[in-house]
């Protein structure tokens, strides 16, 4: 054992998010997040870690923007959609007529 100079202390691959606990703690402070029970807290930490990975993949897919931890980072995508969106793409009402074509040169 003496000749092992560097011993790996974190698992391989993406499942380990370096400092996830640190990010989560900063997130709770910044957005004043509190959870009623330890179970809820641990569940939300799990969701948070998945959203860290999502932010990472969004950053790769959308490099001209900045993606990361937001106030929605402890919500699953479906919770986010049901709680913070709300557009019903109905067909347009019959009395919504088309805007006249406007000149766009000079």
């Amino acid at each position: 054992d003496d000749n092992i100079l560097i011993r790996q202390v974190v698992e391989d691959g993406d499942e380990h998010l370096l400092n996830a606990e640190h990010h989560f703690s900063a997130f709770k402070t910044k957005f004043s997040k509190t959870y009623a029970t330890k179970e809820e807290h641990d569940y939300r930490f799990g969701v948070f870690k998945s959203n860290l990975l999502r932010a990472k993949s969004h950053q790769e897919l959308d490099p001209s923007a900045i993606h990361g931890v937001t106030k929605f980072s402890d919500l699953t995508p479906s919770e986010f959609r049901s709680q913070f969106l709300g557009l019903k793409p109905l067909s347009l009402p019959s009395d919504a007529h088309n805007a006249p074509i406007l000149p766009t040169d000079n």
Binding site: R54, S64, K71, Q83, G86, S91, L92, P93, S94
Partner: protein, 231 residues
């Protein structure tokens, strides 16, 4: 058309608001467009009531009877314009404050109407026409696919892939000729979008998305409203 344009510079946009945990984005997009139109018609910027729409607008789509504006469970801006025109208008925010809940009765007081709809129309899926309507008629109500917005912090969003299924209603207030995209080392023209998730999201409550590709469906549901000119 000007290269850059932003209605915030002309005083036609109220502060960023916050819909809270309620699917009422459609009502914020509606009030934002009417606030701008009212400003153009009267020179007065008035913050209008989303709660009136949440509580009182149950306008249904003429072709789909079960598809109605329903408070925290979603709605559509053009249907909301239709309600507003029939109801006579919207009252001020301060006269009917936002609660973010849709269990209350309608407490609309016609005598307190602050802004009224003259008419509304749908803008074609043409970027120049959208820009021209924006410059001529004020901020526009738009639908968008919000999949990248949950993790968005800033910059010009221009994803390589994005669905065009619309699930969020926002307000188009301007456009820019080019925001620097460090990764792609070039300027990218972008739309400036006012969201309703508070100022501690995005760029002080705003979102920028690149122009030119109907990105995330942003060009596909654009509507404009004109307000009644009150002397």
């Amino acid at each position: 058309l000007p290269k850059d344009f932003d209605w915030r510079d002309h005083g036609a946009v109220t502060n960023v608001k916050n819909q809270g945990t309620c699917g009422s984005c459609w009502s914020f997009s509606t009030t934002g467009a009417l606030e701008g139109a009212h400003f153009l018609a009267t020179g007065e910027l008035v913050s209008l009531s989303e709660q009136q729409l949440v509580d009182c607008d149950h306008e249904c789509d003429p072709d789909l009877n079960d598809a109605c504006d329903s408070g925290c469970n979603g709605g559509l801006m053009t249907t909301a314009f239709g309600y507003t025109k029939k109801a006579g208008g919207l009252v001020r925010e301060e006269d009917y404050p936002y609660t973010g809940r849709d269990r209350g009765p309608c407490k609309f007081d016609k005598s307190k109407i602050a802004a009224s709809v003259s008419n509304f129309s749908v803008v074609s899926l043409d970027e120049d026409q959208i820009a021209a309507n924006l410059v001529k008629n004020g901020p526009l109500s738009v639908g968008i696919n919000a999949v990248y917005m949950q993790t968005y912090i800033g910059g010009v969003s221009c994803p390589f892939i994005c669905g065009k299924h619309l699930d969020h209603g926002v307000l188009l207030v301007g456009y820019g000729a080019g925001g620097y995209a460090p990764i792609r080392f070039k300027e990218k023209p972008y739309w400036i979008i006012k969201n309703s998730w508070g100022e501690n999201w995005g760029e002080n409550g705003y979102y920028k998305i690149c122009r030119g590709h109907n990105m995330c469906g942003v060009d596909s549901m654009v509507s404009t409203v004109t307000a009644i000119h009150t002397s």
